[in-house]
Symmetry: C2
Subunit: 304 residues, 2 copies
């Protein structure tokens, strides 16, 4: 959790930004001004950063991207970087780097959304990044990382019973192959594996009113970072500025079946003490809701 | 002192930036990424900010300017802002605001240096801002604020002796007028005032090798913020990258007759502990030298 504020960076609440880390590789959601400071405070580095996904072209989500790119350019051979976002994100970055004549020692691939884009923004062997337009004052994208599934659990007793002893044949079965046992019988992978296990799902959705896109992003998520910018008493401001209250976030996440939600994009009008009210209002509709904490690490257990 | 680091913002050392405050009006020197956080930490506000002077178009001196401008746009009727700097500073700002479609509720006047510019960048009734090209890897400007002088000290005994009693006539004398005393004699301002007193002088010069421009900026300064990026052991890096060591800064300031120097633009390679060495090396040549401290206020006494 690099930051969870809205509108502008504050000393105790940097702008909303989440770093998703999986086996050393990193995907960053949003980059407001100064967010490289959070990376440094957390001693997280940038060498494993493969991609940045920007929700929309507002300053509190974008102004820190050039700084992140320059920080990354301090590494030797950092490898290519993918930057995902709405149309215009590439032009903003290019303008900044050109105006400052800043040399970046790696390739940058811009992946800009259009209404012809499919639901998958990026795809790795480890999972996919989904994007989806939300309902804000400007085009704003929400994201969802879906980790690839894993094979079912291997049953060694069953393998023994079917005549496959410990050894390389078991490895083939676990990898989905069919093998021939010592007695000549064919043993299929499905004979010794339980049902396939799903991968983990993380949603990141901020700067939006409740909408169908938000629900699809949060559907069945293990963890959803969702905007809870205002308390219910300031619901008018949320509606007018196309943001959400904490309760609206909780309701949307609950109805979509998200397991756990962490509220982000808290308005600078609220003190740290006020956050208890945001949390309480979200928890009244979703039992597993909380306000983000700076530099907190949220471990997501592997599904059974 | 909003920051005193070089190259990029660090959690404990923001990029070099100095806010000059005089009777509630403020002039900002440089604005690296996240420098609005220092303004907020110091509870300094931006409503009194009339002008920003940018030394050069490198990220660690410029990336935070759009954020400062947006923060200022949160004020009601903040009044016009002057932005002073090398050619290109206006284009960078316009690109950023345009790409983000950010509306600023005040006029911005860009004052860009050219080789036809005079030595005065800005002029107020309270003083002038001088600029001067330095010697860096790109066009880099140093600055000097010269406060307007004050009349000499008023001598009330002398006024009494010349027949001018306490009252409005003394006010006229202090304002430089000639008055007629009760006995008909003319009394001139110079009869009752000491010698005119000079205003205060503050220099801000970073990202340069020692040069004649640096000396002119520091000449007779009450306080000079001068780059001391490296220790002597890393002098090769200073020469190669067109920066200064702490000792070079101290020597240049001493030879120019600067009263007191504060080292800025410290390299991220140095820890907070290392700063003692930078200070010691500068103090070996200038007795009144120190390394900047975050959010420190440096009061400058009025000259006698």
């Amino acid at each position: 959790m690099l930051g969870y504020g809205g509108m502008m960076p504050m000393p105790l609440r940097m702008t909303t930004s989440v770093l998703l880390r999986r086996e050393g590789r990193m995907l960053l959601f949003d980059a407001g001004e100064g967010i490289q400071l959070s990376l440094k405070r957390g001693a997280l580095g940038v060498l494993g950063l493969d991609a940045v996904a920007i929700t929309h072209l507002h300053a509190d989500h974008l102004l820190g991207l050039p700084g992140i790119m320059m920080f990354r350019a301090q590494c030797d051979e950092p490898g290519p970087l993918k930057i995902v976002g709405p149309p215009g994100v590439g032009e903003f970055v290019r303008h900044t780097l050109d105006d400052l004549k800043y040399y970046i020692n790696y390739n940058v691939d811009f992946v800009e959304w259009s209404d012809k884009s499919g639901r998958v923004a990026l795809s790795w062997n480890t999972g996919v990044l989904i994007w989806e337009p939300l309902e804000h004052s400007t085009l704003c994208l929400g994201y969802r990382f879906e980790e690839g599934g894993r094979p079912g659990r291997f049953d060694p007793d069953r393998a023994t019973a079917l005549g496959v002893p410990p050894g390389p044949l078991r490895g083939l079965l676990q990898a989905g192959e069919t093998v021939v046992a010592a007695d000549g019988r064919e043993v299929r992978s499905s004979d010794v594996l339980g049902r396939p296990r799903r991968g983990r799902i993380v949603a990141y959705a901020t700067d939006t009113r409740p909408c169908a896109g938000l629900s699809r992003l949060c559907a069945g998520a293990d963890l959803a970072f969702v905007e809870g910018m205002f308390v219910e008493a300031h619901r008018d401001a949320a509606v007018e500025k196309r943001h959400m209250t904490a309760a609206e976030a909780g309701r949307a996440a609950r109805d979509a079946g998200a397991e756990r939600i962490v509220l982000v994009h808290v308005s600078p009008r609220y003190t740290l003490e006020d956050e208890a009210l945001l949390a309480a209002e979200a928890r009244a509709v979703h039992p597993n809701a909380e306000v983000a904490k700076p530099l907190e690490a949220y471990a997501i257990p592997l599904p059974d």
